[in-house]
Every structure is written in structure tokens, then in C-alpha cells.
């Protein structure tokens, strides 16, 4: 699965269509992720973002098209999906990243522990390595999950709505971290709802059961594209005095799974 370093693309997808038994969730997907780039994935819930990640990870076989992932791929899920009541420390969670690389009977040794602590250091949480995972704030837990992916030595990181539920300062901190990771040469695909943040990134992929657009934010983030992506009209609000207009998207419903709030 590992290509040579000379291939600049960490992942290449073309003509992809995928779904579950009897139902196609994604069709006509094609894009490339370069090393060192941040790709924002926009789209409504149910639009196929999670399915795409599953295909990239190799968990779901596509119906058609080609997928080539040339680097180890790590996924950073939403913290809400992991168990905060688990009797694990921050270091334990980071060490989970070594699972794939050690045979069953080997415990993580000194080398692995050092790697995990270094990864925690990269995300700014080395001092908290001994604390219970559940005691941390939402933003901190998210960063621990990023550290776990770093321990895996993943060059391509898939982040599933990492900013949801975080407060302003946490968003900023996570954002800086992700910038730094991408400048180290990793590729990041981040599913996100905040259009403002995405403007500073390298590429944007708009999904709504099919690929609506892929390219630079300046080219992709236009009103018609956004309307097709989210399936709703953008509401333009005038700012009384200056005549400037701001567009907002009507709120979307999260699917009925019932997310746990940040504790």
C-alpha cells in the first residue's frame, strides 16, 4: 500500500461510487490529496462524508471507480463517539495507535511509550498524559485522538467533524495544530461545517451524494455551489448601513442519533 516518496499524492480517487446494500450513497467522486495539503470536506449529514472516509480507510469496498491510498491512513473520529467513561488515561488512548504495529502478545514498551509521549507533546498535552481521558475538555480530547493518529505514523489523516462542539479558543488551538501537521508534509481531510474556516485551506471537496465541486476555496466557495451542496437556498442578510451582505445557511438538523453533549 505504501508508494514511494516520489508520488506527491497521498490519495487518488477517480470515478468512485460507493454505498451500502441496495443503496448508492456516493457517485462520481474524483479528487487527489497532495502531501502537505488541507482539504475541507463540506456537505450535509447523510451526504456521504462518512462513507467516503470508510472507502479511503479500506473498510468499504466501492461499487465502481478506483481508489489508491499511498500512505498509512489514520482516522480521528468525533470525541463524542468515544467513551468518556472508559477507565483509560490520556497516554493509554495515545498508545492505542500502536495496536496495528505490534503483534498481539507484545506490550507497548519503552520505545512506544516515548513515541506516544512525543505525539502528545506535539498536540500540547504531554503534561496531561496521566489523567483520565474522560476528565479532559472536548477540545483536549479531540487533540488526544489526533495524537493517537500521529502515533500510528499516519501520513494521511481523516478527521470527522473535529471542530463540532468546541468553543472558540479550542477551535483556534486545534486549527493551529492542524496547520502545523500539514506543514510537516501530512495530508489532512477534514469534514467541517464552518465555511469561514475552510476559506484558508488548500482544497475544498463538496459532497452531496455526488461530487459537487473540488478545488481551491476561492474557486469552489460560490453561492450556487453551496446551494447545491447543502440543498437549501442561501439567505442573504443585508447589513443595514454599509450595504454589505452576508450569506447564511439555514440550520441543518443533525441526524436522529442523538449526540452526547460535551461533559
Amino acid at each position: 500500500m505504501e508508494n514511494g516518496k516520489d508520488n506527491p499524492y497521498l490519495a487518488e480517487v477517480s470515478g468512485l461510487s460507493a454505498g451500502y446494500a441496495g443503496r448508492t450513497v456516493l457517485r462520481d467522486i474524483g479528487f487527489r490529496v497532495e502531501a502537505g495539503s488541507m482539504v475541507g470536506v463540506l456537505g450535509p449529514n447523510g451526504g456521504g462524508k462518512t462513507t467516503l472516509f470508510k472507502v479511503l480507510l479500506g473498510e468499504l469496498a466501492p461499487f465502481e471507480g478506483s481508489v489508491s491510498v499511498g500512505a498509512r491512513c489514520g482516522v480521528v473520529p468525533q470525541t463524542e463517539r468515544s467513551r468518556i467513561d472508559y477507565p483509560v488515561s490520556v497516554l493509554d488512548v495515545a498508545l492505542m495507535g500502536t495496536l496495528g504495529r505490534l503483534p498481539w502478545w507484545k506490550r507497548p514498551g519503552r520505545v512506544e511509550r516515548r513515541n506516544a509521549l512525543d505525539a502528545l507533546g506535539e498536540v500540547g498535552l504531554r503534561d496531561l498524559s496521566d489523567r483520565q481521558f474522560g476528565e479532559l475538555s472536548g477540545g483536549q480530547r479531540q487533540r488526544v485522538l489526533v495524537a493517537r493518529a500521529l502515533v500510528q505514523d499516519a501520513r494521511l489523516l481523516l478527521l470527522d467533524e473535529p471542530f463540532s462542539g468546541l468553543d472558540g479558543p479550542s477551535v483556534k488551538r486545534l486549527s493551529l495544530l492542524l496547520d502545523r501537521l500539514s506543514s510537516e508534509g501530512r495530508g489532512l481531510m477534514v469534514s467541517i461545517h464552518d465555511l469561514e474556516q475552510v476559506r484558508d485551506w488548500d482544497q475544498v471537496l463538496c459532497l452531496n451524494q455526488r461530487q459537487v465541486a473540488f478545488g481551491k476555496p476561492s474557486e469552489v466557495l460560490t453561492r450556487p455551489v453551496i446551494e447545491v451542496t447543502y440543498g437549501t437556498r442561501v439567505v442573504m442578510l443585508g447589513d443595514g448601513n454599509s450595504g454589505r451582505k452576508t450569506g447564511i445557511l439555514p440550520a441543518h438538523h443533525h441526524d436522529g442519533e442523538g449526540r452526547r453533549g460535551d461533559v
Binding site: Y20, A21, G22, P87, G256
Partner: protein, 299 residues
Amino acid sequence: MSEVLQAIFEPWTQGIMQRALAEVGLLGLVGGALGCWILFYELSYSAESLAHALFPGLAVAALTGLPLLLGAGVGVVVAAVAVAVLGRAPEIGRDTSVAVVISALFGFGVVLALSPASPPGLQGLLFGDVLGVSNLDLLLAGALAVVVLVSLRLLHGQLLAVGFDRTTARSIGANPRLADIALLVLIGLATVVAVQGLGNLLVVAVLVGPAATARLLVRRMVPMMALATFLAFLAGVFGLYLSYYAGTAGGASVAGCMVVLYLVTLPLSALRRERRKLDAPGAGSPDLIPEATWSDLDV
């Protein structure tokens, strides 16, 4: 021919069997109708837990000579309170807490039931004594059944709205809290009624079986409730025939027939759904036997 007719009518000439038939009828009414709501709200686990956890109430009643119905009633209340109070430790999870409460209460019930002071008849408590109900028992059970059915009729609209979409229920004037509490109370009452005939290890057969079978065949709520009641009665009668002619234990035969009815209907309805699937694509995982999804319901 007359031999067959003779065989069909003979059991019901006896008082025991007549009362058993009445009991089965009550079970069907209560279990079938309420069972549809138990499925809709996914309360099967709660229903079974309540049934198991009221066992010490039965044991105390047997020990002190009080009517079983009373013991069951008190047992249900104690069990519900215990689960509410102890079920909140976050590290453990609700299912686990419920399991803890059940096994502790059951243990307590067994200690009481097997103690030397207790009259024999543990198996009656566990598996029911459908052939041993008295007229008084039937009267009390009948009264409870009426309460359950009337409540269901009055609450129908509320239950439907809350069960269909909890989050928007308030906006149309429904009250999720009320629906939850009402259902749990009704399940408690129904369990108390059914525990006499089926015992608390088998009660879940009538609370879940006929409704689950009806759900495979019918898509709208009210017809489903009616069908479930009918199927419950049908299976119950079959069970009584089996018990009469094969000599098998009464409660277990009735419960067994309800389960068998479901298991037999399951593949038949799956076949029908497969054929329908070819016309209209729908979501579904391939390795699960598809159960009716509530999105098909025209409520």
C-alpha cells in the same frame, strides 16, 4: 368427523380449562395491544427486566399468604424504584445497572421462595399456573385489563405522536414524559396480570411475541394491535390444547406456542419482503432478517 368435533370441544367442558381459557383471553387482550407499544418504544428489555425483578414480591406474597396479584404489584413498584435510583452511575451504563438490580432482587426472591417457611410451588411462581387460576384471580385480572385497555385508548394519540418523533412531539402538543411514565406503569400492570398465568420467567412471551408477529404482517398501528390480540388468543388456545392432550405444562405450552408462531411467521414475511424489495429499493443490511421498519407505518 364427530370425533374431531368431540376432541375440539371436550377440554372446555371442564372448569379448570374454562378459567384457563378466560385467563388466556385476558393475556391476549393485554399483551397483544400493549405489546405493540412495547415494540414501538423499544421497551422489550425494560419489560423483561420488570418481570424478572418483581419476583421477590411474588415470593413474599406466597410466604405470607397474600394474593399473588398484590405481591406482584408491590414487586413491580419496588423494582421500578430500584432501577430509577440505582441506574444512574455513569461508569456502568443503564443496561448493566438494570442487570445488577434484577439479579440482586431475583436472588432475594429465591432465598425467600426456597426458605423452609415458604409453601412449595416455586415453579408456579416462575412458570405460571395457568391451570390453577381461581375466579377471584380472574376478576382482579379482568379489572386490571380493563384499566390497561381504557388507558391505551385514551392515550393513543399521545403515544403515537411521541413514539413517532420524540423531538418534535412537544410542538404538536404531546408530552414525552407522560408517555414514558404511562407506558411503564401500563407495562407494570400488564406484567402483574400476565405473571399469574405465565410466571415471571415466561411473561415476556405474551408481551412481545404476538405483537412482533403482528408487526411482520400488518403495517398500521390499530390493525396491528387488533391482530396481535387475536394472535395472542389463538396461540394461547393452541397452547392449552397442547397442554390438555399432550400433558405438557400449561404456562410453558402457551408461551412456547406464542414463540413458535413468531418464528414460523418470520421467514414467510421475509420472503414476502424480498419480493417487494425488487420493486422498490430500500435500505437494509444483508445479514439481518429484516423486521418491519417504522418508517413504513402510516400512522
